[in-house]
């Protein structure tokens, strides 16, 4: 199991979703990915994308205009 990070700051949706999708493709089942975003649209889009593609959002933290998602593949 590995923990990975992805910087999606200053990207507008759906780019953070696309980058997340592509990053998860490279990971193994059970690995986690920490994604940092600034687009408020990701608050809806990333959890939705994870739901429909059967990945789990473990946590969502919003602070100082940044949103950090931890996703488990």
């Amino acid at each position: 199991m590995s923990t990975n990070t992805l910087d999606c700051r200053n990207l507008l949706c759906p780019m953070p979703v696309i980058r997340t999708q592509n990053a998860l493709k490279e990971l193994q089942e059970g690995d986690t990915l920490e994604v940092t975003c600034t687009d408020p649209g990701t608050l809806s889009d990333i959890p939705t994308w994870c739901r429909i593609n059967q990945h789990q959002v473990i946590s969502t933290n919003e602070q100082n205009n940044e949103i950090v998602f931890v996703i488990k593949k």
């Binding site: 507008l12 949706c13 759906p14 999708q21 687009d39 608050l43 939705t48 994308w49 593609n53």
Partner: protein, 361 residues
């Protein structure tokens, strides 16, 4: 003639066929996928990101739109259908479609016919479908729905030039067209497909009601900014000012944000309209010279193009016009270049009359 690429069916049970649906986020593609899904076909969605997609992110930037839903419509559609959605960034390859459409533009800078061919074509959806073991492609096209791309004469062009040929099924208007391979092979029942045509959306609304879909996206002119006259005007202005037709992804993102004011051909201002846009434009300070008002509350302004000291002064006066000091004698502004070097200057704000109407792009 398209060859059957499906694996040999060795069991007695009929093989479950798989279709990939082009999901734009609008109603038609939602319904098209649902119609086929209802026939027991395994459907997954594919959504192409061109950079011009009309989505919730524009609303997400602006504080005044905070109450509007910030969802991505294609994701919402996939969730309603209970299907996987694969989003593919084609923004770089798509430039050639926008800049050199073989079949020309629609009413604005929308290259709809070339766009549809490109999305279905061998390098995009069809190649993806073959690679991932899908049997056919679904689109939400309806004959006569769009004046350029969705005419009866152009439908075979899309199928042929895309390479998908008769593995391209349009469930909403299939009965108006020659039966495709999925129909001929009995994978889908042609009798349960539809014969919609024309610009009226009434049949779609009725079908949506039948399926229990509510709250679907209905963007005017489709799901693409290039169908929007104001947006197309800004893009044309950008090309005109640069003396060449080219763009980067950041250029087309910025066309969606702020007031665009071009007082001279060599440069324009992008003036934030509110806090959300301020935050967004701040992300571009390392790429552009920026102006912000110091003595009064005001917008962040980016300068795009080439400019001299007099131009900067003019830009500062315009920026001051949109600040809290618009009625003051002087407004202090800070001008910062992309390297972070800055200086402060006092300027009299421009009057509303002096910001000429023709400057507004």
């Amino acid at each position: 003639m398209t060859q059957d690429i499906s694996p040999q069916n060795t069991s007695n049970a009929p093989k479950q066929r798989k279709a990939v649906a082009l999901i734009s986020g609008g109603l038609d593609s939602l319904l098209a996928a649902k119609v086929v899904q209802e026939q027991g076909i395994h459907v997954e969605g594919i959504n192409f990101y061109t950079g011009f997609c009309v989505e919730g992110h524009t609303h997400a930037i602006r504080k005044k739109d905070k109450d509007k839903q910030k969802r991505n419509n294609s994701l919402w559609v996939a969730e309603q259908l209970g299907i996987k959605l694969h989003i593919i960034d084609i923004s770089e390859e798509y430039k050639d479609i926008v800049l050199n459409p073989k079949h020309g533009y629609g009413a604005n800078l929308n290259p709809c016919l070339d766009c549809k061919i490109f999305m279905v074509n061998q390098a995009q959806a069809w190649a993806w479908a073959e690679e991932n073991g899908f049997d056919f492609i679904i689109t939400g096209e309806v004959i006569g729905q769009r004046p350029k791309s969705q005419r009866k004469e152009t439908m075979p062009i899309i199928a042929r030039e895309s390479g998908a040929d008769d593995r391209l099924l349009r469930p909403l208007c299939a009965k108006n067209l020659i039966p495709t391979l999925p129909e001929r092979e009995g994978w889908v029942n042609r009798d349960e497909l539809y014969d919609f045509s024309g610009r009226s959306r009434k049949p779609q609304f009725e079908l949506a009601k039948k399926f229990g879909f509510e709250d679907f996206a209905q963007p005017a002119g489709g799901c693409c900014f290039l169908t929007d006259a104001n947006y197309s005007k800004k893009l044309a202005d950008l090309w005109d000012a640069r003396g060449e037709r080219r763009y980067e992804l950041d250029d087309i993102m910025l066309l969606k944000v702020g007031r665009h004011i071009r007082p001279k051909k060599n440069f324009k201002l992008i003036v934030s309209r509110e806090e959300g846009e301020n935050n967004f434009l701040r992300g571009y300070k390392k790429q552009f010279t920026s102006i912000h008002t110091v003595s009064h509350g005001g917008p962040l302004t980016l300068l795009d193009g080439e400019f001299d000291k007099d131009d900067i002064r003019l830009a500062a006066q315009i920026a001051a016009r949109y600040s809290g000091g618009k009625n003051a004698d002087q407004v202090t502004v800070q001008v910062e270049n992309y390297k972070g070097t800055s200086f402060v200057m006092d300027v009299p704000p421009m009057t509303a009359e002096d910001v000429k109407q023709e400057w507004h792009v």
